[in-house]
Structure formats: structure tokens, C-alpha cells
């Protein structure tokens, strides 16, 4: 049995008097690929922040590679892309390459230095996201889609075992989005990278992720895309028409028994 990468049992999280997450339980082992979906305010980002130890849960247990997140130190095993693309200053004076290099700091001991020996990893991540030609441009002078690709390269550069991505494709055009999901699939299949990705695009993530987790303060659904499409509970939740639209988009793989 594979070791658990993430384990969550009976997790709850309250902010002031509001319940944000209730009775969340699931676990991920190496190579799992989970798409977290749900409406705005459903607690998706909060769940990620609890897993990463930014927020303390109100109840329940969370472990990251077997440790409590607040005690976790092996950050080289984790790659993270936060939600807010525009959280940084648009006039930030660093180049795309400098930003991607920051993703390697989790692998460094004090004093953390980026040197010639890191060039190959940085160039590989730049190339993977098709941003080598703009590596010396200032991040603030890039388009939203290019900035997002820089940040994705930063999350990938350390070759993490667990990749956590919060709405990574919002600023990407359809072609770049397709390539990005193909890249993730390749990382997942070839290197057994465990992936947690938050997205609103159930149809697309359903084609790639091994599991869908539909969240609305509590887990509404957790399973394969195929079982999602065939679930009568989901039919009740979404309505037959919406479920049909989600599951039979022109670019979505139809639900079949082998995805169950």
C-alpha cells in the first residue's frame, strides 16, 4: 500500500462564526490526481490553505507526508501555485527567469543560493512552459497568460512530489490551457507526481484527473469523472440538463465504464 501524501479526517474550519468546511475526509497516495471543483465560496482555497498549514483547522486531522502541516519542513516535496495571479506588484522588477528560480529555494540549505548548477532545471521549466524566449523580460511587462506560465514554471521547477495548483488556467488561452493539462498528465503518469488542482472547469479536469472532489463546504462528491456523470445524486444536485452539459461537452471525454 502506498504511503499517504495527504490525509484528511473529519476536517472542519470555521472563520468567526461561519462554517467554511465541515466533516471533510479523504486521502491521497502517490500518483493520485484530484480536481477540486465547486462554486465560489465553497471552501476550495481554504482547504488548500489548511493542507499547506497557512490556516489551522477548527477540528479534525490533517497530515502532509505524514506530518502535521504546522510541523512540516520537507517543502522540497511540494510545489504550489497560489490563486491570485495579480497578488504581486505589477511593477515587480524581477525577470521571468529570476521568478522561476525562486521555485528552487525549497531544495536549498542556508545560505540559499541559485547558481550555475541550477541552470538546467530552470531552463527545463522555462522550456516546458514555452517561455524560454521571454525569460529575460520583467514579469510585470508580460501578459496575464505569460505571467501565469511563469508562475506555473516556478511551481514545477523543483520537480515536487506533490503539486498544488489553485486555478492555474484562468489567464491561459485555450491552446496554452490544453498544453498545460497535457504537461500535468505527463508529470502524473511518468513521474507519479501527485496533483491537487482547483478549477471551475469540471468538463476539462474530468478528462485528466483520476478523481473529482466536488466541494460545497462539505464533500458533495468524491470519485471518478465517470461515476460523477452516472451518479443519480449528482443528477439530483445539478439537475439532469446541467449534468449532461458538464459530462458531454464537445471536448469532454464521454463517461464510460472504464473511468468508473
Amino acid at each position: 500500500m502506498s504511503a499517504e501524501i495527504v490525509s484528511i479526517r473529519n476536517l472542519s474550519f470555521r472563520y468567526n462564526s461561519s462554517e467554511i468546511l465541515a466533516d471533510i475526509s479523504f486521502s491521497l497516495t502517490a500518483g493520485d490526481y484530484v480536481g477540486i471543483v465547486g462554486p465560489n465560496g465553497s471552501g476550495k482555497t481554504t482547504l488548500i490553505k489548511v493542507i499547506l498549514g497557512f490556516l489551522e483547522p477548527s477540528g479534525g486531522e490533517v497530515s502532509l507526508f505524514g506530518c502535521r502541516p504546522s510541523e512540516f519542513t520537507a517543502w522540497r516535496r511540494v510545489g504550489y501555485l497560489p490563486q491570485k495571479l495579480n497578488s504581486f506588484n505589477p511593477h515587480f522588477p524581477a525577470t521571468a527567469r529570476e521568478i522561476v528560480a525562486l521555485g528552487l529555494l525549497s531544495r536549498k540549505e542556508f545560505p540559499k543560493r541559485i547558481g550555475k548548477s541550477d541552470d538546467a532545471a530552470i531552463d527545463s521549466a522555462l522550456s516546458l512552459m514555452d517561455i524560454s524566449p521571454i525569460k529575460n523580460e520583467l514579469i510585470g511587462e508580460l501578459s496575464g497568460g505569460q505571467q501565469q506560465r511563469v508562475l506555473i514554471a516556478k511551481a514545477l521547477v523543483s520537480e515536487p512530489e506533490l503539486l498544488i495548483l489553485d486555478e492555474p488556467t484562468t489567464a491561459l488561452d485555450p491552446e496554452a490551457r490544453e498544453k498545460f493539462f497535457d504537461t500535468l498528465q505527463s508529470l502524473n503518469e511518468r513521474r507519479k507526481v501527485t496533483i491537487i488542482i482547483i478549477t471551475h472547469d469540471i468538463g476539462t479536469i474530468g478528462r485528466y484527473a483520476s478523481r473529482l472532489l466536488y466541494l460545497d463546504k462539505k464533500i458533495i462528491f468524491y470519485g471518478t469523472f465517470g461515476s460523477f456523470c452516472l451518479s443519480s445524486d449528482m443528477t439530483d444536485y445539478f439537475g439532469e440538463f446541467s449534468q449532461h452539459i458538464i459530462c458531454h461537452r464537445h471536448d469532454a471525454e464521454p463517461a464510460t465504464s472504464d473511468k468508473l
Partner: protein
């Protein structure tokens, strides 16, 4: 010849040496503060410096010695308010800043005035800087350079995105403390250079000048430092020759640098 004669005076030499080092401190720290939208922390801590100078005068001790611990504690207080009271940085700075001014006025009132004019600290006097203060500014600059050499990547990472920096295993709370404590010490030192009222200009103007020109993070720090040093040297010399207040002259020269760099960026 007259200008060269200027440099033979001991007080001018001390002013130029201390001023240049303080300029490096302010310009370098300012890059991190400006990019993290904490520009006004200098202003806030300067107001606390006003209060702590009053404490020093009240206790009949050299104001600098009272200001250092009080301003450092206030800097940590701003961090705590942001973390624990869930305040934005500007609100936390505003609270500490107004408390500093209020404290200073209250103490001055209770003391019934001081022999030394409290308000002379508002505008600084770099030409009266002591050898001890020159030594402190050099020592602090060396500490800053060491900190930046050892923590450059951590500082860059936190400045870019604190949340991601945490996932890179960076002890962000410690780096933040180091940054604000260095800022606190620098503000107390800079009080002599430009005065309490104008300190934030030294922390803000050289970095924003550099941001117009630099193409990379290291380049921003270097250009900011060069702009800071040049403005201080030019400011001291110009003010002495033209019989102008030194602090205000330094700030105006800094603003001219910003205008020039802004114009260059717009028209290149």
C-alpha cells in the same frame, strides 16, 4: 577651489560618510518596503522616533539611546498587529504612528518643555552628526550588506509573494522581523540626516527612481543605492554652498532624480 576646501572640514567629512551609508541603508531597505506596499512604515516609525526622542529628553538621556529600543519594539508591534489583529499594513502603521506622535506630545506637555528643542529633531542636522553616529551608520550598513548577501533569495521570494515563500520553506516571520528591525534602526539614524518629517522620502524616492530604470532585482537595489548616495552627497554640498537646509535639499534632489528617470522611461 572653494568646493574642494569644503571637503577638508571634519564635520563635512563626517556628514558625507554617514550620509552615504545611511543613504545605502534607506535605498536598499526601501526597495523591499516599496514593493511590499510598506512604504509608509518609514513615516510611521519616524513618528514613533519623535515620541521616543521626547522620552529620551524626559529621562535626560541621549535621545538616540531611547529611540533605538522604542522604535524597534514599535516596528515589531506593527508586524504583530498585521498578523494577530488581521489589519492591513497601512492601518497598523497608522495606529503605531499616531500613538508615537501622541506619546511625544503628551510627554513634552507633562515635562513642561525641554531645554533642547524637541522640534529641532523634525528637520535633522547632518552637519552636526557625531563620530559615534558615523560609526553606527557604518556598522549598520555592514550588517545590512551581510543580511542581504545571506538572505537575498529569501528576501526576493518574500517580496514577490509571501505565501509561496512559505511553501519554499522560508521562515517568513523571521525574515520579516529582520527587515523591520533593520528599518527601525535605519529610521533612527536617518533622523539626523533629513529629520523625522522627511525620512520616508529617503526610503521611497531612490527605490521608485530605480524601478523606472532597472531590469532585474539586483539592478534595482544597485541603482537605488547609487541614486540615494548621489542625492545625499549632492544635497550636502549644495545646501552648504547655497545655505539651504540639508535634509530638504537632499529630498528635492531625490525627487529630481525620480522625475528624470520617469521622463527617461517614458521617452526612451
Amino acid at each position: 577651489m572653494e568646493i574642494l576646501d569644503l571637503f577638508t572640514h571634519g564635520f563635512i567629512q563626517r556628514a558625507l560618510i554617514a550620509g552615504s551609508f545611511i543613504a545605502v541603508l534607506c535605498s536598499t531597505l526601501g526597495v523591499f518596503l516599496v514593493l511590499r506596499r510598506l512604504s509608509l512604515i518609514g513615516d510611521g516609525l519616524a513618528h514613533v522616533t519623535f515620541g521616543s526622542v521626547a522620552v529620551g529628553l524626559f529621562l535626560r538621556t541621549y535621545p538616540f539611546y531611547a529611540a533605538v529600543p522604542i522604535v524597534m519594539l514599535s516596528a515589531l508591534g506593527i508586524l504583530k498587529l498585521v498578523e494577530k489583529a488581521r489589519l492591513y499594513g497601512d492601518a497598523a502603521i497608522g495606529i503605531v504612528s499616531s500613538l508615537g506622535i501622541a506619546g511625544g506630545i503628551l510627554i513634552a506637555s507633562i515635562a513642561g518643555g525641554f531645554n533642547v528643542d524637541l522640534f529641532s529633531f523634525l528637520f535633522g542636522n547632518i552637519l552636526a552628526i557625531s563620530t559615534t553616529e558615523v560609526t553606527i551608520s557604518i556598522a549598520l550598513s555592514i550588517i545590512l550588506v551581510i543580511v542581504i548577501l545571506f538572505f537575498y533569495q529569501e528576501l526576493l521570494s518574500i517580496t514577490f509573494d509571501e505565501e509561496s515563500a512559505k511553501v519554499s520553506g522560508i521562515r517568513t516571520e523571521w525574515i520579516n522581523k529582520i527587515l523591520v528591525l533593520l528599518t527601525a534602526l535605519t529610521v533612527v539614524l536617518a533622523m539626523k540626516l533629513v529629520g523625522i518629517m522627511l525620512i520616508s522620502a529617503l526610503l521611497i524616492l531612490p527605490p521608485v527612481t530605480a524601478l523606472q530604470l532597472a531590469r532585474g532585482f539586483r539592478a534595482t537595489i544597485v541603482i537605488s543605492s547609487l541614486a540615494g548616495i548621489t542625492s545625499v552627497i549632492l544635497g550636502i554640498v549644495t545646501s552648504f554652498i547655497a545655505n539651504l537646509p540639508t535634509g530638504a535639499t537632499i529630498v528635492v534632489i531625490n525627487f529630481i532624480f525620480f522625475l528624470l528617470s520617469f521622463t527617461y522611461r517614458r521617452w526612451k
